[in-house]
């Protein structure tokens, strides 16, 4: 791709999200989301592979539908209440419609089906952008909505955690597993959204860190299926010994960072007298944990048979920069002792 075009597209990608962050008016927020969607499309289709084009088309259709629904919701809101402010949505109908449109945009569970299909068609760096940067703008809008119907968000959250765990169970493709893991994590965020928005924010940041290191690890190994993970020990021994910990952190096991959001969310749900929902969410995290465990088993707990020359790639210097991976990996493994500081930092 021409560097000028690439620069323009990346700039617009940033501009769209920033515009949505900065706006308190529905029309501007919608415009930011549209700019965001449009700017990533050539990046998704840049390899001109038929599968990538298919994924791009699917992404465009879903995002256009969601954006149209959001515009319809905000127009209905302006018609019914006479104002366009995001934080002052006072009628239940447009609020519910906007919540559902944003759920379609970020891939929450009854509306998640596009996400694995799209992510499977992209290369790993673009998939990284799709599952981190593209979630920011819709989630900030979702954070600013005043939820009218409290059961809607709980249902969305619980189905997302359940289906995110269930869908990933029998997958052998890493990108599909990552897509389902994204759905499950977003389910946790939405579940606690109306009770403690700052916890949603904290969960988002931690999820972004963990998924960043996961994508970069898989990209470093150049692997998109579980089978190719098995030779990871020969390529990068340190990373393949840290990767199981990172995956278990994504699954939410105690001494790692990923435990923090789940812990705080379960505590908040229990405080809100929602013990059944908390139990269901905690049990559905076990489903996710199963496929994270399977990934770490294939990556580090087995030693795949290999010929002698196949055991030597660790001697070569890696061609990719590993500093971002090192930073995010450290953060996604060892931030749990900083829980009080982080909860104080991310208070909204």
């Amino acid at each position: 791709m021409n560097p000028y075009v690439l620069a323009t597209l990346l700039f617009s990608l940033g501009l769209g999200t920033t515009l949505t962050f900065a706006s308190s008016h529905w029309l501007l927020a919608w415009m930011g989301l549209e700019i965001n969607t449009l700017a990533i499309i050539p990046l998704m289709a840049q390899h001109n592979h038929p599968r990538a084009i298919e994924a791009t088309t699917k992404y465009f259709l879903t995002q256009a539908t969601a954006a149209a629904m959001l515009l319809f919701a905000s127009l209905t809101n302006a018609w019914l209440t006479g104002q366009w402010d995001i934080q002052l949505m006072s009628h239940p109908l447009p609020t519910t419609l906007a919540s559902l449109a944003l759920a379609l945009k970020i891939g929450l569970a009854p509306l998640h089906t596009w996400l694995p299909e799209v992510l499977q068609g992209l290369d790993l760096p673009t998939g990284l952008i799709l599952s981190t940067w593209q979630k920011l703008a819709p989630l900030t809008l979702l954070l600013q909505l005043q939820p009218m119907n409290s059961s809607l968000l709980i249902i969305l959250g619980l189905t997302s955690t359940l289906i995110g765990g269930w869908g990933g169970l029998n997958q052998t493709q890493l990108r599909k597993i990552l897509a389902y893991s994204s759905t499950a994590h977003l389910g946790w965020m939405v579940l606690v959204l109306q009770f403690a928005p700052s916890l949603t924010f904290l969960t988002l940041i931690i999820y972004l860190t963990m998924t960043f290191s996961t994508f970069l690890t898989f990209n470093l190994n150049n692997s998109t299926t579980i089978n190719t993970l098995a030779t990871s020990w020969a390529k990068a021994p340190v990373i393949s010994s840290l990767a199981p910990l990172m995956l278990l952190s994504l699954g939410g096991l105690p001494p790692l960072t990923g435990f923090m959001p789940k812990w705080l969310i379960l505590q908040e749900l229990t405080k809100q007298d929602l013990a059944p929902a908390a139990t269901l969410a905690a049990l559905s995290a076990l489903l996710s944990l199963y496929f994270y465990l399977r990934l770490s088993y294939a990556m580090a707990l087995t030693m795949a048979p290999n010929n002698l020359t196949g055991t030597l790639p660790w001697r070569l210097l890696p061609s990719q920069h590993s500093l971002p991976l090192a930073i995010s990996m450290t953060a996604s493994l060892s931030l749990l002792p900083l829980t009080p500081a982080l909860t104080a930092l991310f208070t909204l």
Partner: protein
């Protein structure tokens, strides 16, 4: 008189909506879309938004040209299914019954004006609601228009980039 006309427009709107929704061949479906657009704009005219309806008609006509070209070029059937053929007619009857049941469910005797554009809709008034909105947009919404133009320019770049180079672009 006006009531009969707007009843005709609303009924035509719903019928042509059904004509699209009952899944005929793409060619007939886009014809149904044209009818939906026409009746919808007529409804908007009937409730006072003449300028808005004019803009909508112009945009719809442009879009419909593209849709017709697409459905003629990409989805031309040898034996197209119009609304007379079995499955399509069955779906149409189903949707019609659905509309009847739903309207019977939501029917109310007291009937009020549902919408108007900008409050006062007087005949032959120079200052209509929708035209006032346009002037507000051009006077106060300058930065907004700049951002919109930027987004449209970005769309142009995106289309160029996706379809660039005939042998390896998205259209092969």
């Amino acid at each position: 008189m006006m009531t009969y006309v707007s009843c005709f427009f609303l009924g035509g709107f719903i019928l042509s909506m059904i004509a699209v929704a009952c899944n005929p061949s793409p060619f007939y479906g886009s014809f149904g879309l044209v009818a939906v657009a026409g009746f919808g704009c007529a409804v908007v005219v009937g409730s006072g938004g003449t300028f808005l309806a004019l803009i909508l008609v112009m945009i719809y006509v442009g879009a419909m040209l593209v849709v017709f070209v697409y459905s003629a070029a990409l989805a031309a059937d040898r034996y197209p299914e119009s609304w007379g053929s079995g499955g399509v007619a069955g779906q149409a009857v189903g949707y019609l019954l659905g509309v009847m049941v739903a309207s019977g469910f939501f029917w109310k005797e007291e009937y009020g004006v549902l919408w108007g554009f900008g409050g006062s809709v007087e005949e032959l008034a120079p200052q209509r609601g929708d035209i006032g909105g346009v002037s507000w947009m051009y006077s106060l919404g300058g930065p907004l228009l700049v951002i919109s133009a930027g987004a449209l320019l970005l769309t142009l770049f995106v289309v160029f980039e996706v379809t660039r180079l005939l042998h390896r672009g998205a259209f092969r």
